[in-house]
Symmetry: D2
Subunit: 367 residues, 4 copies
Amino acid sequence: MSVNSFGHLFRVTTWGESHGPALGATVDGCPPGIGLDEAMLQVWLDRRKPGQSRYTTQRREPDQVRILSGVFEGQTTGTPIQLLIENTDQRSKDYSEIAEKFRPGHADITYWQKYGIRDYRGGGRSSARETAARVAAGGVARAALAEMVPGLKITGYMVQMGPHRIDRTRFDAGEIKYNPFWVPDATAAELWAGYLDELRKSGNSVGAVVEVTAAGVPAGLGAPVYGKLDTDLAAAAMSINAVKGVEIGEGMAAAELTGEANADEIFPGNDGQPVYSSNHAGGILGGISTGQDVVLRFAVKPTSSILNPRQTITRTGAATEIVTKGRHDPCVGIRAVPVGEAMVACVLLDHVLLHRGQIGENRGRIG
Amino acid sequence: MSVNSFGHLFRVTTWGESHGPALGATVDGCPPGIGLDEAMLQVWLDRRKPGQSRYTTQRREPDQVRILSGVFEGQTTGTPIQLLIENTDQRSKDYSEIAEKFRPGHADITYWQKYGIRDYRGGGRSSARETAARVAAGGVARAALAEMVPGLKITGYMVQMGPHRIDRTRFDAGEIKYNPFWVPDATAAELWAGYLDELRKSGNSVGAVVEVTAAGVPAGLGAPVYGKLDTDLAAAAMSINAVKGVEIGEGMAAAELTGEANADEIFPGNDGQPVYSSNHAGGILGGISTGQDVVLRFAVKPTSSILNPRQTITRTGAATEIVTKGRHDPCVGIRAVPVGEAMVACVLLDHVLLHRGQIGENRGRIG
Amino acid sequence: MSVNSFGHLFRVTTWGESHGPALGATVDGCPPGIGLDEAMLQVWLDRRKPGQSRYTTQRREPDQVRILSGVFEGQTTGTPIQLLIENTDQRSKDYSEIAEKFRPGHADITYWQKYGIRDYRGGGRSSARETAARVAAGGVARAALAEMVPGLKITGYMVQMGPHRIDRTRFDAGEIKYNPFWVPDATAAELWAGYLDELRKSGNSVGAVVEVTAAGVPAGLGAPVYGKLDTDLAAAAMSINAVKGVEIGEGMAAAELTGEANADEIFPGNDGQPVYSSNHAGGILGGISTGQDVVLRFAVKPTSSILNPRQTITRTGAATEIVTKGRHDPCVGIRAVPVGEAMVACVLLDHVLLHRGQIGENRGRIG
Amino acid sequence: MSVNSFGHLFRVTTWGESHGPALGATVDGCPPGIGLDEAMLQVWLDRRKPGQSRYTTQRREPDQVRILSGVFEGQTTGTPIQLLIENTDQRSKDYSEIAEKFRPGHADITYWQKYGIRDYRGGGRSSARETAARVAAGGVARAALAEMVPGLKITGYMVQMGPHRIDRTRFDAGEIKYNPFWVPDATAAELWAGYLDELRKSGNSVGAVVEVTAAGVPAGLGAPVYGKLDTDLAAAAMSINAVKGVEIGEGMAAAELTGEANADEIFPGNDGQPVYSSNHAGGILGGISTGQDVVLRFAVKPTSSILNPRQTITRTGAATEIVTKGRHDPCVGIRAVPVGEAMVACVLLDHVLLHRGQIGENRGRIG
């Protein structure tokens, strides 16, 4: 019931603010005997780390993760894993402006209204820094999945930046790691670089769409009603900062399809197991995985911190104007890619454990 | 942790299958002293009831709800409210086809794979009939909200059917109740009627987009990270049968906006409280309500039961073809409108209680 | 988070009041494919049923349970099982006295203070009738355990009534079913009959201690800290009406032992698995089952409804006197025996599922 | 659902092992605006700290707590509070014996059977060191309670050590802090000192009973069935290491009382509110607080680490003998006193928040 936790059996609670001494994740429910060390987590954190290209914030955080518990001699023990990341790049600067003015598009105003107290030096819990803890927790989930569901592969990438969508006919997963946008399309990468440079220089920002697919997900994960695999994926994605829309498979476009066009027809595969003619469903039928690729997409709104002056009010209710200086991401969607992957990993591991708990092995045979 | 429950403090567990004797909802955590009787719930169930126009399934279910507990002398007692709806229209017919063949787009195959047992006469828990229980539970939430947050108003309607979107310049909430599509646009209603008649006659079906807005939501509901108001709304919407996409405010379109265009600027209102120049955020900033209208949208895929033959397999893994005869909705999105409203009501009441539990009254003053 | 639920993966929510139309349990998380029908549950309900001897309330309730969902063709489907028991013996009588006066020892006064509304005809949710729903749910748990942990055997019995404790040297489990007290000691049964007759005639009542043992519990269930098997057993027992104390193994008497006396020494058994010299621990070490008998005991306070007049106040705060007439159990501990068994069954099944979820099979080998 | 968490709205998750780098607690759900700093927590930790008298383990841990998040400028922010305590006194010593042999009465064997991996240098999560995190979390709860329920006072003390019970006629709360046993009876303190010295020298240990009372608890906290205040107190107490029995009010002795003797009669008090003739119920009726003192008692078994050799087996299943050398508490019940207080504080704050969430203010008036 903690409002800072997600997951059922594999349960992650993140803690920490952007300008406190540290932040982290308390990860409970990990199976024991999973090989794990800090380097295995660091590799994922390094992908999310700021300051890796001119397209992400120049805040310099090493985001070094420490494992404080739950791992012994290189293996998980089955007890809570505490992951700690220190905040190191806290420049002393003049916070008087953002302390008194609410930045439009940020949580400043609602946070203040609700709690009546917040660390005016940054976004507190609403800062994108919180997602570092998710990525660390996702690394734990990946380690467990690697041993429990060996074929499973999670891949995140951008499919849209502002008005520019990728051309799916040029999709090349091999390209993802070679460009600063995690985009599976070299042509798009080049175009987007020019586009974002311009936006960045003008002090503006832009939104994006991230897609995460999981291949090798076994059939049978999820449940028909509220414990649906897609319900938990949607919640996980919507819980990421700045996300405003979530799609499974066809997503919003499903509204435009007819039943005839939308049906993923089923055929007997070579191994006797079902194969599908298409994957409009995004790998989930009635809340339960089909064995096809699970396809999740989410839209990230443009960074709200921009150099163009915006109208706002002060804490005393006076009208004023604000310019959010500082080191910001012109497209926060970029760094949402590893975060999206991490959330998918956590949800999948959780459902693997839930399924094993209630069901054991899948009970229905085909063929 | 129940996979058939949702909500934190206002917690709803639905139960029952489409072809069993009854279905219902166990509603826990309702505040005591709320005026409630069966008629107050029936009004919402009647809106969802099948067979009200030629555009919804001709299954004849009165969907009469009974309150078995938690209400005494017309008031809630604060203890669990059991809502029971009997299944009455269970025609005896030949189920041999759907017992052996998996209907594409339905949960038949995944349900079977996971559980190894299912009531072959219908969708079991995956049937849209389950949503009757949600509507009943939503009626309880509405009754509580009516007393606790008097100004709050939840309105659901369709904004898209297949390729046809409403023209927002013609938006007229007064029209919603006068057409079978809950569409706030009389011109669209006429167009859609013709469009859907044609589809229906051809044995096909189509998807839709439903929008639910909540006006009068107080600022301060939600939390910055996983207990976000939008996270819970997204989960609630995605948990509805056939939903494939969920949006808050700008939704997926947020990806196309610049930071400048997306910022909802803030001004001092007449009463000293903030007013906003726009509502791209859909009434939620950093997971916490702003006091603006909360705007949720979700896409419903086309009904998978269609008369056009589709390829599939049998339980023994043999290739075959299927035609799903029977009484089906050509656009299941229509009946998703009252369901979406019900889910929004449940989520809002839950967050009202959560907020009161942790915070009491909003603590931060403006002005 | 529902305050009317217990269990993690096997989750039971009871609902209903003593004087409403019905009560029951919503049971979620049961594994699919478990053989189950109403008769299998009725056998347990019949043991708890009132009016079976002159030592229990003469209220005549058949406590007939109906399964409304979650079972198909004699097997559980893995979806929520709704268990419904109608209240039939609701005599019309004059409730004006208990409507206005708070019965000492009952929840009347606290219920009123908290909720401000209650069904003055009985105890509402605080009535012992609520435990019928637990017994029904426990029957579901027993059915699942019978298939999943075949050797497991749960046995409840009374070990103390008022000042009279059983003589453990005469312990004979075979006697339990032959006397109205579920006491494993024929001599005690006789003595207690006379003792209770006298109390009953004088309009008084008395407390009791119930013991429930579970043999054949596999080693490894539970967790070291809050998810301890004994924590959940303690909570389950304390949640039963009128229970004031809970013990595992030595229980409160552990305080009097030295470390030397309390140590259950360990020896290699014939099959290479550990055997213990004694079972002071009650089958649980560090929250995790050892494989020995799990031993739970709880004290039930005397029925608060007695014929001897007691001082109390009215709702308006005036001093008055009350005599609680009606059909009451002189020793409510008797009917707590099947309830205790049911709770133990639910907790054990829940931990079997939790263990399988996180761990799969026990990972540490001995020998 | 985390097995390392407790609480509903005020939710504490502890993490860390006795021989890892650190341990701590993640505390979610604390109301915002509560004055809090490390010194306010340290005062409680210092009471639990080892090495304060010759009657507790000579392990030298400063148990210095750091607040890593959730507090800003001396006030709680309403976001998760991370409490970290470093383990500093980790002597390098020869662990080969306890690595291979299971210590009787300890969780070594069950931990190993379940998880197949454990830190052989100590008890891991089952170590009494875990309770330091509880005491820190309890300090947070106390700070919130001090502001929200000003009159509330929680007092823990020992009432029994081995065969020696306190004489209640000599009860003097003022004595508690003047002796190493937290015993409210100076005569007992003297007697116990001699008794425990002897036991300690002989390498033996002994059990104890701890009582915790809470005065000033408002009426109305709790719920009639599973969310009972006493259910949560019982679970909280039973979750403490080495606890084997839990009592509320009369506890196990309730079994011996008649209904006449057990009834707490009710009278109108001077302020129109109810007063009771006695408190057999321990301040809780039907799961809901009455406004009287809440009285919780629990039995702590004797420390299992003793110098007298005990029979056991090795991991390979061979019979052997073990002597548990090292720095152990001869009566671990002593240090359970501040732990019990902390647990009661956490449960009470949680129920204060739950009550406010569902009910707001008590709704039923008397008079």
